[in-house]
Symmetry: C2
Subunit: 456 residues, 2 copies
């Protein structure tokens, strides 16, 4: 999914340089604006401090929460203070799932609390919880092999994160158990499902995320255990011990709630109806601060526009920041943007999102035909001096996927993801996991590509 | 404190080899036993699996708890099954502090739970807790500079872990705030003390540990916040925000409780009244599994004796494993051993402890005159093949310090401590943080030194 389009960055750079020299001569002033934007961005830690203010003031921002809506109000007010244009929100109805009080307690072979987080969209349990023996399985095949033992039990999937894959591929591989595990367990008679947290490292921090019910007749509660607890229960089973757990979850799904996508622009000087979109999602899970996922991407995109305004840079096409709501538990924001702007989409020249954390940027991942890849090579060329000029092919981020599906070229910020799944969807997703100067380089990367695309 | 006695391990190895060749010729059979022990130890992950059984079965083992005493019963029974000699326990009265229910809640500028752990020996709060404004200080000097603002407040020490020092020195530097912070805060009128966890990395896991009351008239409750929460409160103060926290702690100190040191031996064939002690402490804090601190050191020492027995190795002097109780909150086990064996101490030739985690071993740290250092160089020489033959000078571990103070040569297992303070005294101290083959090399290192000292 994320194959680099060249194995030799030096060759790519040389090619990009030639392409620039041959093709971009008329765009010298614009190129100079891109360079000014990069230079200003990498020297400025304002984005990091603004992100700190956002996440410290409002905390995590789950869909349906008052905190999310107050954060949106604050962002809109700040964007107006920044002098951005056409600052407004667009209404979105979003799913509203609430965690409630929850716990998992080992009852046998000894009584002890387990580190857990209920999964988004899961149903709850009765008030006294579900107490049942545990069947630990490694994967779906192992569940099928032990299907006759699953009835009346809590099934725990202890599927490890594969360290032989790149982190985001290993996530896609393991997240199947989080998303689909409850349904498969219910289909063989289990009364609840537990899943080892989808995490590449753990200090006993469980990781939540969304799950889905499918074809199984019964909807059973589902929760993540910390890696440590999943491994412990597995060891106990390997020792032949009987394991009993009480799972108590107050989770419930309320009626859909009103939320909003946030939009701000700098209007294009020559082709204002042609649009470059860049953004992130402003909602988060309800644990930690949602700083990495995806306050950072949201504020970095916003910072691009603020810096352009501050530097007096006026793009030829309109540069539009979109902060989508409800990425985590429904993608309602991404779909609402598509629906509200459907007639405009043919004039969307690029949709760029950051949603893998604003860690050290490596370049851009693109979705589209070879011509888009070649175009992106030109756009990233000025980023060689900060080492963020690689171009990768791969899927777009979730929020832009509805418009990419309708033909808009998609791009994503590609970063050093080696620690992303240490913190993702857990209490560990806090401001301190990011670095001010890495985030600044992300601003530079998004800015250079967005402005380059707007002026190209 | 932990200065290597040479900067060039290759030179040290060459010297050790010469020393061996010149001095150890009569000990060829014994040397061969040391080599057999090393070879057997590094190929055997039994210690890791026994540690897993210990920590999974009993969990954490705080002083005064039933879990600690049941773990001791199990160890004694297992040691007898192993065929060890003189397996017995020795009574120790230990402090009995209980955490109770506890929480820290941010009230202003927004309501949110804070990740906290009360500190060992702290008094509790009234049932509804203490609600007060927070004064964040960097260190004791900062507290003195703002002493007039501290009255009636909760003082938070946000003193960072120094990454410019070796980890165990950085710990000694920062732990002053955990141990003494409450007393200093009380002396300027604070109503409670919070301390940034003493940790070199955090995924929002608070770290507990013992504190002490000193000269201040009033004993105020004390707790650790996670690094993330301490930094957030500090940022809020820097933004000029008023911070209010509710701290609720059910902590209480009960009457001293009976516990036991565990002892097992292989009696010496030639000088049975001369003793080499090796061990770790079997108690832990009440969070995580106490796998690293210090289940690992305890089981590694025990494994040395089990392997010697299995291999039919009979030492010339007695090799005695001691698993001390109550290292964490009083050192009663270490003092009780000293008192019970006082008359024997002149015949203790070495006391070796592992209490920094059974991570990749580097060698041995010694306390004593130059002659002891030179002797240790000879003892570690056979460990060159596993890279654990460095000799360092420094303080002994806590449990052996009472007998080292009376002249017994002290030695400690020196390991790669780069991640120790990620997990120490937190929920993250679990089996999975250790590696079976690193632990096996620790067994080899302790075994080679203990047997070498017994046969020398």
């Amino acid at each position: 999914m994320r194959t680099p389009t060249t194995r030799h960055p030096a060759i790519a750079r040389a090619g990009a340089f030639l392409a620039c020299a041959l093709l971009a001569a008329p765009a010298l002033r614009a190129q100079s604006d891109v360079d000014r934007l990069i230079t200003a961005a990498v020297q400025d830690t304002a984005a990091y401090h603004r992100l700190g203010e956002l996440v410290d003031t409002f905390g995590s921002r789950p869909s349906g929460s008052d905190r999310l809506e107050r954060a949106i109000d604050w962002i809109v007010a700040e964007m107006k203070k920044d002098g951005l244009e056409n600052v407004h929100t667009e209404p979105v109805m979003v799913p509203h799932w609430e965690r409630g009080a929850e716990s998992a307690t080992l009852i046998e072979p000894r009584r002890a609390p387990l580190a857990m987080l209920g999964l988004g969209r899961s149903v709850g349990t009765p008030p006294s919880g579900i107490t049942a023996p545990v069947l630990v399985v490694r994967d779906f095949a192992d569940l099928r092999a032990h299907a006759s033992e699953a009835r009346g039990k809590i099934v725990l999937y202890d599927y490890p994160f594969r360290h032989d894959l790149p982190p985001f591929e290993a996530y896609e591989d393991a997240v199947r158990y989080r998303v689909l595990g409850a349904d498969s367990a219910a289909s063989v008679g289990a009364v609840a499902a537990l899943v080892r947290s989808v995490a590449s490292f753990s200090i006993r921090n469980p990781h939540t995320g969304s799950m889905a019910y499918g074809s199984a007749a019964k909807r059973i509660p589902a929760a993540a255990l910390s890696v440590e607890d999943a491994e412990m229960l597995h060891r106990m089973q390997d020792r032949g011990q009987r394991i009993v757990v009480n799972l108590t979850m107050g989770a419930r799904t309320l009626p859909d709630a009103p939320s909003r996508n946030v939009i701000a622009e700098l209007r294009g000087s020559e082709k204002p109806d042609e649009v470059v979109v860049l953004g992130g999602h402003i909602d988060s899970w309800d644990v930690g601060q949602g700083a990495m996922d995806d306050g950072g991407g949201s504020v970095a995109a916003w910072e691009v526009l603020r810096l352009m305004k501050q530097l007096g840079i006026r793009p030829k096409r309109t540069v539009r920041v979109v902060l989508w709501t409800n990425e985590e538990s429904g993608l309602a924001g991404g779909r609402a943007y598509r629906d509200a702007h459907r007639s405009e989409l043919p004039k969307h020249v690029l949709a760029l999102e950051s949603d893998n954390g604003v860690f050290a940027p490596r370049g851009i991942r693109v979705t589209g035909p070879d011509s888009v890849v070649a175009w992106m090579r030109r756009l990233v060329a000025p980023l060689a001096r900060i080492g963020a000029d690689s171009v990768f092919r791969g899927d777009p981020e979730a929020d832009v996927s509805p418009i990419v599906a309708l033909g808009v070229p998609g791009a994503a910020l590609e970063i050093d993801g080696s620690r992303y799944f240490w913190y993702h969807h857990s209490e560990g997703d806090t401001l301190d996991k990011l670095d001010p100067y890495e985030m600044a380089r992300c601003v530079a990367t998004m800015g250079a590509v967005a402005l380059g695309a707007a002026n190209d």
